[in-house]
């Protein structure tokens, strides 16, 4: 049998050991809370509630660094009443260096303040607005792998006049865990938001594709129309369409909305819908572009549409063309390629104007190739741009190829290599069949 020994421990020391044991339990509790949720708001509230309880503080708060504004904003304020908390979260922000929390954010150093009123860094405005009186406090920076996340504070110790160095040590241990957990929660939240956005954009891209012709090729009489488009992002500001404005005529429009992304895609949807309504029964592309111009004149943020609208006689091959600020198109004959700069109007949606019409008589086998600036403005990984002359040269060298729009798109994609496409890319072709 082992002999038991009795050890005498002073009551004061025993109390201290019990306190340390309680603090260790608190840190383990916090660790368990941290691993129980990835919900940022829930995490912050749970952890700070626990901190307030264990640190025996009247109040505690967390300020988060807003990376866009560079200011500290109150994320949570516990211990104050709801009104005080709302005032802090909605109306109080701190610049780096401003107030004790601002000083902690700027210096990345923790601070223990025994008497706030005597500390020159103290920002009294928060107390004035809320009616809360700050006596003593500890403020600790929350630092993650990517830098400062924010600042955590506990205010006014209960049953003692000021916090101790030991309290600071415990609060720092807690905040190290909180910072890691907050960063994980932020990454998790951002990753969910990115995934959600990506799904939304995929859906938007599917809807947008439904605005374009269902078939890539449309044949009316002796006129064959085809088109191909690649968006720079999920959705595109480019458009093309094949229509029959009047019997015996085939119409083809190609257009490019200024800018890119969702705003350009929404404006594209409006533009193509308006065009389909306005072109019905009109055998003059200039009149249609003029009406479209008036319809889109109130576009937000200076947005505009450049476009070429061609109407071809499905038997004779005569083509009427109106241009609104769009890049030149290429006329491909059996002998070569001609760059066409017909008389034109400015882009649609900017000023009240008219759009001149030019007429062209195609020979059997001739083709009109139209493109958006994403084709010749394509950039490779070295930053070099393709250029219109290179496009013309490529087209001239492949002018007898049947799938010229696809080949041209492939040529541009190969030039860009792995570089992210900066602009939408669209090629459309009007061919007078031999």
């Amino acid at each position: 049998m082992k002999e038991e020994k009795l050890i005498t421990v002073p009551e004061e020391h025993l109390g201290s050991l019990e306190k340390r044991l309680a603090d260790l339990r608190m840190l383990m509790d916090v660790s368990s809370i941290i691993s129980s949720t990835l919900d940022f708001n829930e995490l912050v509230s749970l952890v700070m509630e626990k901190a307030k309880e264990v640190m025996h503080a009247e109040a505690c708060s967390i300020l988060i660094m807003n990376r866009k504004t560079g200011k500290l904003e109150f994320e949570v304020a516990l211990g104050t009443d709801d009104t005080q908390s709302e005032i802090l979260t909605k109306h109080v922000t701190l610049n780096p260096g401003e107030g004790i929390a601002g000083w902690v954010a700027q210096s990345s150093e923790p601070v223990l303040v025994s008497d706030a009123a005597r500390d020159c860094r103290f920002f009294g405005q928060a107390d004035s607005l809320t009616g809360f009186t700050t006596r003593g406090m500890i403020a600790v920076p929350l630092i993650g792998r990517s830098g400062l996340i924010g600042v955590a504070e506990i205010l006014n110790p209960i049953e003692k006049s000021c916090f101790s160095e030991y309290d600071l040590e415990i609060f720092q241990s807690l905040c190290r865990q909180v910072a890691v957990a907050m960063e994980n929660a932020i990454f998790h939240k951002e990753s969910i938001e990115r995934e959600k956005l990506s799904q939304e954009l995929e859906l938007a891209a599917t809807i947008q594709k439904s605005f374009l012709p269902e078939l890539a090729v449309s044949v009316r009489g002796r006129i064959s129309l085809s088109g191909i488009t690649f968006p720079a992002k999920h959705v595109s500001g480019d458009l093309y369409d094949f229509v029959e404005p009047v019997p015996g005529k085939a119409g083809m429009i190609i257009g490019d909305i200024s800018g890119k992304g969702v705003s350009a895609a929404l404006f594209m949807a409006k533009a193509i819908s308006e065009f389909r309504y306005l072109m019905i029964g009109i055998d003059d592309p200039g009149i249609v572009l003029g009406r479209l111009n008036r319809q889109l004149s109130n576009a937000p943020r200076g947005m505009f549409l450049t476009a070429v609208y061609a109407i071809a006689d499905t038997q004779s091959g005569r083509v009427k063309v109106a241009v609104a600020g769009h890049p030149p198109f290429l006329w491909i004959t059996k002998n070569g390629v001609q760059v066409m700069h017909p008389d034109a109007g400015p882009p649609i949606g900017i000023i009240d104007t008219e759009f001149p019409v030019t007429e062209h008589a195609l020979e059997p086998g001739d083709r009109l190739l139209m493109l958006t600036d994403g084709v010749f403005d394509a950039k490779n990984s070295e930053g070099a741009r393709l250029g219109f002359d290179e496009i013309t040269e490529f087209v001239a060298g492949h002018r007898h190829a049947q799938q010229l729009p696809d080949m041209l798109a492939e040529f541009v994609n190969n030039f860009a290599g792995g570089a992210d496409r900066a602009d939408d890319l669209t090629v459309s072709e009007l061919r007078y069949l031999a």
């Binding site: 200024s258 800018g259 943020r301 505009f304 600020g325 890049p327 400015p346 000023i351 104007t353 602009d423």
Partner: protein, 109 residues
């Protein structure tokens, strides 16, 4: 992108530089709208050091022009490099903006 506003012979001139594309045009928009907030009668933009401008950059100037037209202000372009002038020409933007060879010509009109 560089954006600098200076006075030249009593008129306000924006000296632009670099590439103006979808990444830089939001900055251009903020700076341009800020410059025309106090409704200058005339605003000249020097494109001398601009190497590239895409449609989002042009749309920003269209927005600025529409703002200025509400109080009969004039937005003038000058010193446009050839590569950019080619884009302005085929886009028929010379029907939209007042374009001049240099600052003095813009000032005299």
């Amino acid at each position: 992108m560089e954006f600098d506003v200076q006075e030249y012979k009593g008129s306000r001139v924006i000296y632009l530089g670099g590439e103006i594309d979808m990444h830089s045009s939001p900055l251009l928009r903020d700076a341009l709208l800020d410059t025309i907030r106090d409704k200058p009668a005339k605003l000249i933009v020097s494109f001398r050091n601009v190497s590239y401008i895409d449609s989002s950059g042009i749309a920003t100037f269209v927005e600025g022009l529409k703002h200025m037209k509400t109080y009969s202000g004039r937005l003038q372009f000058s010193e446009i490099p050839k590569g950019i002038m080619d884009i302005f020409s085929f886009s028929k933007l010379d029907k939209v903006f007042e374009i001049f060879a240099d600052l003095d010509e813009a000032l005299s009109r």
